[in-house]
Symmetry: none
Subunit: 131 residues, 4 copies
């Protein structure tokens, strides 16, 4: 549960700059490695419905230590993992949730929602490495 507020603030800032660059207002959340809220911002005009999506993408990423879309592979109909998406209070498994890497170590998870899927994904990526 190691991410510091200092690093979490950097992560949020990196993601926010990307969102501003591509002019998409989003919700950005940082969870610690156990899934507890560490830092959050909702940019002006971001959808209210995306608050929960951002948090659940990050949580889904945390639960399986993988990008949210990687978890999504197991939710495809042909995977036949019936009911999997209803576990853990509901998985949200499309792009926008990622581990935050500090070198080779996962120190937390970022979740982004508010734009189109590739936009959310790009913004989450921008926040997912400690520079």
């Amino acid at each position: 549960m190691s991410i510091t507020l200092h690093l979490a603030s950097m992560v949020i800032q990196q993601a926010r700059e990307k969102a501003e660059e591509i002019k998409i207002p989003v919700n950005i959340v940082v969870l610690d490695t156990a899934g507890y809220l560490k830092s959050f911002i909702r940019m002006d005009d971001a959808f209210l419905g995306s608050i929960d999506i951002a948090i659940q993408k990050a949580k889904t990423s945390m639960l399986f230590r993988a990008n949210s879309e990687t978890v999504g592979e197991f939710l495809k109909p042909e995977a036949a993992a019936y009911g999997l998406e209803n576990t853990n209070g509901g998985l949200v498994a499309f792009p926008g949730g990622r581990p935050i890497m500090n070198g080779n170590a996962i120190i937390g998870y970022i979740g982004v929602s508010g734009g189109a899927v590739p936009q959310d994904s790009m913004i989450a990526y921008a926040g997912s490495f400690i520079k």
Copy 2:
């Protein structure tokens, strides 16, 4: 639901400086006037159990446009408002939740938890006025 991220960030910063001054790690949340999450930080070493308390204090404040402890007056046993505390998903009505004032206008709500009650209250107060 008007608070901007710019102002919410100022509110968080003002409260955080007070928390650092009195050396109490807390959770600080800003909700908009409809109770939706706008900004949040968990300072390092703040209790995990205080994340939810901070959010619920701010939400309780929002629901009745009053400080959380003012709502608490109605929860005293002698008020006989049986079941009131179970409404709205659970009221949390002790000090640490407050309206954020911009002049005479309420623009959002702050919630703080992690220290003793007077400390949480002092930190929330520090964040509750736009300077």
Copy 3:
């Protein structure tokens, strides 16, 4: 609701040895015949998201006294059992949940999650017979 802690511990141990043999860290749960938790272990490095999956697989197995994947047959789209997966707080109906047999009698249910589906299934099988 008859499984004893002595037998539940044997079941967990049998499954754990299989998991260690194939080097997959998993969550292993034993429920009694009414679905109440009897014994549980999370092996080191097992996914946090698999705690709930293991428990729900075992519970799904218990609810219909069948392997979890047998219940899954009723959740295939062509079964047209609309909403079935949302009953009972959410069914989890892919391999890894099984009755525990003592001779011909069901004495409890095992659930396993953390590996690929065939691995979970193999580990659950290893725990599902009292020797």
Copy 4:
């Protein structure tokens, strides 16, 4: 989130021996430092209603890094912390939840329920130190 299954099993064993010594069947749970289930046993004849109590005592202890009864001090009517007990999904704040200490470090949390309060407390204490 550091407790190993090896240490968690020792904790369960220490607590179980105390429970057997005083002839009280209980539920015993070990959570990691983030509150996730690590290990659990229900002794034969322990109350079904005590499964959740044991887990919630340990979780309450985790949320505030304190014995469950210490959290209970803040729930006394004279503390006037209205609604506190409804936070975090419901606090359970009477004896039987404790940090597990490995030297000076908290490595997890134990929760015990099934006996009278002093019995639960004694059993939890027996499991709360790595020898």
